[in-house]
């Protein structure tokens, strides 16, 4: 558009210049010829003058200079010609005075022209000047030549011939060029618009449709019209979308089916389990009536039932996460209260393991949370830490900053091997299967914790070093929808960059190792960590 305007302007200017030059050249040649004619005519009049006294000569001069019509000059334009007869510089005869068509015309003659005539009297001298026509100054051809007046000596004869016609013509040309340029520009704009309509808008449509597809509107399709390349593009685009949609639907159905199955199995197991549970409790309650082996069996039955139940509950919880059916209520809660409750609940376990729990929570750490889920996470982290602390103390730190609240559970026990920090959140993952379990666990605890954290848009991260213990940190945003900038608690002892941002893609699809997982690092050769409930 801009380019088009520019080209039109440049072209117009160039052509205008060319025409102007041509016209000027024509006007000068005509003017020169005419001037020579006029001069010859004037010369002959003076030569044939009957009397050569000053007054007669002057009268002849005035007759020559008088505005003449019909002397063979061009019909219009010519009438504005002026004639000026002036005494040459080197003339010593008595002066005739200046003879001109209109008084004051002699001022139109440039001094340089006079000098040129003086220098070379035999030829006509030519210059472009200006002359007033109808009160306006317009360019004029001024021609000077020498005439010899008997008894009066050398005189300079000048013809001022304004380029009226040429100026008018140039005006017309300029106007037409301007109008033409404007029309051309508009035309260009129109063409550009049409091209946009024809080519760009289908492309734009395609972009829009693919954006909608990306956003999940799988039914979105492009409109196919005509049989050009764009129509082909639309057709293949739609085919691609169809195929994608089909595959996504299939996967969705499959995954729904699987989730449904998990959920149904868990539910169906519950009724018989309830009966078994109650029967077992009855037997367990009267175990003192049995012989020692039977009584012990009753105890084992009861204990394993507990484990079975926990596992079922965890499975159900995971299947609910998988189905996207898990919802969290968000009410303001203080992490310190939750930590306090958890620590109270874990006191006896810690005592049994010879572990001291140290809580560092000075300031309130209030954030919107589902207290039940957060408590579950914290309890999970604390029991894990107790189990792996190897009788060393466990530090529980609560802190807050403007964007986040966090709780970190740090033990100084066996730590994590390299790569374990990424693995700990995997379902049923155990660092060292050979290790005897002291506290029952389903292997789903940390997976559920991670899902719970995610439900809060929070982070759950692990760090560990063999022999130096491990640290698990839960960070929650202070306001829903506002991303966490930085966790207020450190994760690793040299917490420079580790775990500042929540890595993406820590998917917990069953059977696949969680890609990425919250950041953690550790050195080789360490011990084990496992997720316990």
């Amino acid at each position: 558009m801009f380019l088009g305007t520019f080209v039109a302007l440049a072209l117009g200017t160039y052509m205008y210049q060319r025409i102007a030059t041509g016209l000027t050249a024509r006007a000068t040649s005509i003017g020169e010829q005419q001037a020579l004619n006029e001069r010859d005519y004037a010369q002959s009049l003076f030569n044939n003058a009957p009397r050569t006294d000053i007054n007669s000569l002057r009268a002849i001069g005035l007759q020559i200079a008088a505005p003449v019509t019909g002397t063979g000059r061009e019909s219009d334009g010519g009438q504005h010609d002026r004639i000026v007869i002036m005494r040459s510089v080197d003339n010593t005869f008595p002066p005739l005075g200046i003879i001109s068509t209109e008084s004051g015309d002699e001022r139109l003659i440039p001094a340089s022209l006079r000098a040129a005539v003086q220098k070379d009297p035999t030829h006509a001298q030519l210059q472009i000047g200006t002359a007033p026509v109808n009160g306006k100054m317009i360019p004029a051809v001024i021609v000077g030549a020498r005439i010899v007046i008997p008894n009066a000596g050398n005189y300079d004869f000048y013809l001022v011939s304004p380029m009226t016609a040429e100026t008018q013509m140039l005006g017309i040309v300029r106007t037409s060029f301007l109008l033409g340029g404007l029309a051309l520009t508009l035309l260009l704009a129109g063409i550009a618009y049409l091209v946009t309509r024809m080519v760009v808008s289908p492309v734009r449509d395609a972009a829009h449709v693919s954006e909608r597809l990306t956003a999940g509107a799988l039914n979105e399709r492009m409109q196919v019209s005509g049989e050009d390349d764009l129509a082909r593009l639309a057709t293949s685009f739609n085919a691609m979308a169809d195929s994608l949609q089909r595959q996504i639907r299939q996967l969705e159905d499959l995954s729904k089916l699987q989730q449904r199955f998990t959920s149904d199995v868990s539910h169906e197991l519950r009724t018989p389990l309830t009966t078994i549970r109650m029967a077992s409790d009855m037997i367990h309650a009267s175990r003192s009536d049995f012989t020692a082996p039977v009584a012990r069996s009753a105890e084992l039955l009861s204990r394993e039932l507990d484990r079975f139940e926990t596992l079922l509950t965890d499975l159900l919880e995971i299947s609910r996460f998988d189905a996207g059916a898990a919802t969290a209520s968000h009410e303001p809660g203080d992490l310190r209260d939750i930590v306090e409750r958890v620590v109270d609940g874990c006191e006896s376990l810690a005592a049994a393991q010879g572990v001291r729990l140290r809580v560092h929570a000075r300031r309130p750490a209030v954030a919107p949370m589902d207290a039940r889920r957060i408590e579950r996470i914290v309890r999970n982290l604390v029991t894990n830490a107790i189990e792996h602390a190897e009788h060393k103390p466990v530090d529980i730190t609560v802190a807050a900053n403007p964007t986040a609240v966090a709780v970190a559970v740090r033990d100084y026990g066996v730590g994590l091997r390299e790569g374990d920090a990424e693995q700990v959140f995997n379902r049923f993952w155990r660092a060292d299967p050979a290790r005897a379990r002291t506290i029952g666990g389903t292997g789903l605890g940390l997976s559920i914790s991670l899902e719970d954290a995610r439900l809060h848009d929070g982070w759950l991260q692990a760090w560990g070093e063999p022999g130096n213990g491990a640290c698990f940190r839960l960070t929650l945003p202070v306001r829903a929808g506002q991303p966490i900038v930085r966790s207020p608690v450190t994760l690793a002892p040299d917490d420079s960059s580790i775990g500042i941002a929540m890595p993406r893609g820590n998917s917990l699809t069953m059977g696949t190792p969680a890609a990425g997982g919250p950041v953690g690092h550790s050195d080789p050769g360490g011990e084990r960590w496992r997720s316990a409930r």
Binding site: H267, T271, T274, R277, M278, A279
Partner: protein, 227 residues
């Protein structure tokens, strides 16, 4: 030990029998009904003090049975559910159940819930009348009246209202209410409180959209309106 009659509505014979054994061991009188469409008749015949109702039943499902029983009685109803999904639980509670236990449950847990539902009625018998808004609450008589006309409340709704009305200056957290009204010693499901407060409001408020009797204190819990 309170003797009481319990109606167990469950289609799983083993579970029903096991429940009978446990509850009879507690000195309760148990009637079993195996299908939803028979439940109402069984209820009318046995006149139980507590109903244990499975959600998944052949014939009519538990939620519907609950609604039917609630239509003619304020008897305490405890739902047995295998689902802990919010929707199912809330649906059960909204249909009129007072409490629910999730399968699998421990026998002691169930017995505690049943006892808690039976407990009422044998506490104090002193005359006590409370005034809350334009409501008059006759505590031992279990009657709530507004301008002379009686408002029918379930025992649990009544207990909830009394708990709030006795201390109108106090804001009750959901956990406190669970402990006082439902008799839970440990933190239970606060959804119970939300649903029952909604139900109570729909009965006692002039405009349930704009409650004056039971007020919500955001982020804390509930309190009674001005006397």
């Amino acid at each position: 030990m309170t003797t009481g009659r319990v109606l167990v509505v469950d289609d799983d014979p083993s579970l029903a029998e096991m429940l009978s054994i446990i509850l009879e061991g507690e000195g309760l009188e148990v009637t079993v009904c195996a299908a939803g469409d028979l439940a109402l008749r069984a209820f009318r015949e046995s006149k139980p003090d507590v109903v244990l109702l499975d959600v998944m039943l052949p014939g009519i499902d538990g939620v519907e049975v609950c609604r039917q029983i609630r239509a003619e009685s304020t008897v305490p109803i405890v739902m047995l559910t295998a689902r802990t999904d919010t929707v199912d639980v809330v649906l059960g509670l909204e249909s009129g159940a007072d409490d629910y236990v999730t399968k699998p449950f421990k026998p002691q847990e169930l017995v505690a819930r049943v006892r808690a539902r039976l407990r009422r009625g044998d506490d104090n018998a002193e005359a006590e009348t409370l005034q809350l808004g334009d409501l008059t609450i006759d505590v031992p008589g279990h009657v709530v009246t507004r301008e002379g006309s009686t408002i029918l409340l379930t025992p649990l709704e009544f207990d909830l209202l009394v708990a709030l009305a006795r201390k109108p200056w106090q804001v009750f957290s959901r956990e406190t209410l669970l402990e006082q009204v439902w008799g839970y010693r440990h933190a239970g499901d606060t959804r119970l409180v939300n649903v029952h407060v909604q139900r109570l409001r729909s009965k006692v408020e002039n405009d349930p959209e704009n409650p004056q009797i039971v007020l919500t204190v955001r982020g804390v819990g509930y309190k009674a309106g001005k006397a």
